[in-house]
Amino acid sequence: MQLVIDYLSKQYARNIWGLRDVSLSVRAGVLGLLGPNGAGKSTLMRILATITRPTGGSVSWNGTDIVRSPDCVRTVLGYLPQDFGVYPQLTAQEFLEYLAAAKGLDAPTARRRIDDLLQMVNLDGVRDQRLGGFSGGMRQRVGIAQALLNDPRLLIVDEPTAGLDPEERVRFRNLLSDLSGERIVILSTHIVSDVEAVATDLAIVVRGRLVRQATPEAFLHATAGRVWEWLIPSEELPAVRSRFRITGTLRKPEGMLLRVLAATAPGAGARPVEPTLEDAYLDAVTAPTAGNP
């Protein structure tokens, strides 16, 4: 089971690119796709879900080009788009039956699967209520259930935890962990803590380009020795902020405790600390690059 993305590009207009020369190789496990808003994550997701056609490069699923033969991936795909919507007048049960039919499930299989999934996403008790009355989080759970209807080999979820309460968020993370063994899960988000717990691989996309693909450990290793904790008087914060990349601040009785990204100690009293994945992400995203101010 392998998904290979080779120099993938999407150009919307003359000077507007969604993606530029993105190359990735994905195997079974959870790939956390990180990047700031508007980085091109959703464009990449839509291309992988065969909704958007790329303008350059190729994507192959187990050796088959998905642009030329989209059905090879559509039959094994579960997709939760970022702006997931529902038919408000249908009940959760009816809506899932509808999508199960579109995915090609026969009636008995669909019924069993819907029962299981509604229990799994904790919506069993409201299965006969119309979706129009559901909260944002409940609708998102319906979205998660529909993505899993056909027991997908390739599961693409775009900002899946948006609108979920903390308990449901943890529940979803655990679910992804359980699912990841025998399939490829691509989890797009800008919330680092979502991928921290489950991702076996990370890819960071910025301005339509892939900055880096590596394991979380490799990201942490690359940032090791570049994260500092530094206690400064509160009044010095604006000046320090303008000189250094600060990933966190904590107010203490003695002043402000900062987490600073820097190659060398930012000042007297600064001590090196273990980087978190958030530090590593911010380091990759905000690293000064040639041509950018």
Binding site: Y12, A13, A39, P88, A102, G104, V206, R241, T286, N292
Partner: protein, 422 residues
């Protein structure tokens, strides 16, 4: 897993979603109003000096033709939202990632449109039965004689309308307001074309076929019949016309074949729609586009983590009330920006033409002769006074403000009336 089951579930979900909405009640209400207008004789089928005797065959044909003509217009606008809803809700993106093809998807949408329109036609059929019970002049309540026009005239026309709505939704330039305007002219064209060309090939509504058969039958009954055929608002009291007992259409295999022709158009329309349908692909998501245009910040060094060099000043004023003027301006801006500039240009041009029309219509009324016919209020003016109740129409343009009698003369000079008339 059969394709039929997929199709059935797609149609079922779509029909449930539509019929459970409150807006569906508006469609039902509009249908009932149309049925009522036919029942009370406001709208009908007119043959010059002649009219049909109110029996099952005549009422069936009359109601079915009203359905095929008027429901094909407002029905189009009522159902032209099936694909748009999937686009707006995001359900389309999920469907685009499933193995379902463009043709089955669009066929399901067309069938779902058709079912909604078929419900409307069924309501009209019920209204026809009601009309038969109330105004029957001859024969029995023969449902078998009443229903064939609905089956062979109205339903194929509805199928065509349903597929046309899907085609318009699939065609990039016809999805929005331009498509709505284009359809109105297309609707007029489709009604006129078979009448002008005397061809049944383009007769999607079935009016030409019904007219041909009816005119032949009426000529056999009344040799001096001049071929007059009007479907619309009553022109003259029915009791002034000579009733003819029409025995109804013999639906031959050839006639039914002609009525199956719109189904061929339906197949062609869905095939064309599938060719141009984008399967919910987006040309350029606005959010990403704007982010790219605005976005020097992404990947721009430590700028991301730096706060902007801007300090918000404290507000010196007390926010004690809403600024109505500013709210109004903001609402106006929202309203104007919702449509492209050319739409406003066309609207303005039409408005200016309307004003010039007011001058031409409102002006001469004051100098008209004092003789008055039946005015818009439905009352007869008799030398300075109004008499309630039904009266004979003397006006060459009934159903309008005559502009000459004391009642409606001042109203015509009141500018909104000619404005609306224009």
């Amino acid at each position: 897993m059969s394709a039929c089951r997929t199709l059935f579930n797609l149609i079922r979900a779509d029909v449930l979603e539509r019929t459970r909405r409150r807006s569906f009640l508006v469609i039902v209400a509009a249908t009932l109003l149309l049925g009522y207008l036919v029942v009370n004789g406001t709208i009908g089928l007119h043959l010059g000096r002649y009219r049909g005797v109110m029996n099952a065959t005549w009422i069936g044909l009359m109601m079915a033709l009203c359905g095929t003509t008027f429901v094909s217009l407002f029905g189009f606008y009522a159902v032209k939202n099936a694909v748009a809803r999937d686009r707006q809700t995001g359900v389309g993106q999920v469907l685009a990632g499933t193995p379902i093809g463009k043709v089955p998807y669009l066929a399901a949408k067309a069938l779902s449109n058709f079912l909604v329109l078929a419900v409307v036609i069924a309501l009209l059929a019920l209204a026809a039965i009601l009309l038969l019970l109330i105004r029957r002049e001859a024969g029995t309540v023969d449902v078998q004689a009443l229903l064939p026009p609905f089956l062979f005239l109205a339903l194929p026309a509805m199928f065509f309308t349903a597929a046309l709505a899907v085609f318009f939704e699939s065609m990039p330039g016809l999805r929005g307001g331009l498509g709505n305007i284009a359809f109105f002219f297309l609707w007029i064209f489709l009604l006129i074309l078979p009448l002008a060309t005397r061809s049944l090939w383009t007769d999607v509504t079935g009016v030409r076929l019904a007219m041909d058969r009816l005119q032949t039958d009426i000529r056999a009954l009344a040799p001096d019949y001049d071929g007059h055929f009007t479907l619309g608002i009553e022109n003259g009291a029915p009791h002034d016309k000579i009733p003819l007992r029409w025995r109804g259409m013999d639906w031959t295999a050839r006639d039914i074949g002609w009525r199956l022709l719109p189904l061929g158009w339906v197949v062609a329309l869905i095939a064309c729609a599938a060719l141009v349908f984008d399967r919910f692909d987006v040309k350029a998501p606005r959010r990403e586009e704007s982010a790219r245009r605005l976005g020097r910040w992404a990947g721009s060094g430590n700028g991301l983590l730096k706060p902007p060099d801007l300090a918000l000043r404290l507000l010196a004023v007390v926010l004690d009330r809403t600024r109505f003027g500013r709210m109004l301006l903001a609402e106006l801006r929202l309203m104007l920006q919702a449509l492209p500039w050319w739409w406003h240009a066309v609207a303005l041009t039409l408005w200016v033409f309307t004003l010039s029309r007011i001058r031409r219509t409102a002006g001469p009324h004051s100098s008209h002769a004092s003789a008055c016919g039946r005015c818009f209020s439905g009352r007869r003016w008799e030398r300075g006074k109004f008499a309630s109740g039904p009266g004979r129409c003397f006006s060459p343009a009934p159903g309008r403000w005559c502009g000459n009698c004391p009642r409606c003369g001042p109203r015509v000079r009141w500018w909104p009336v000619p404005w609306f008339r224009a």
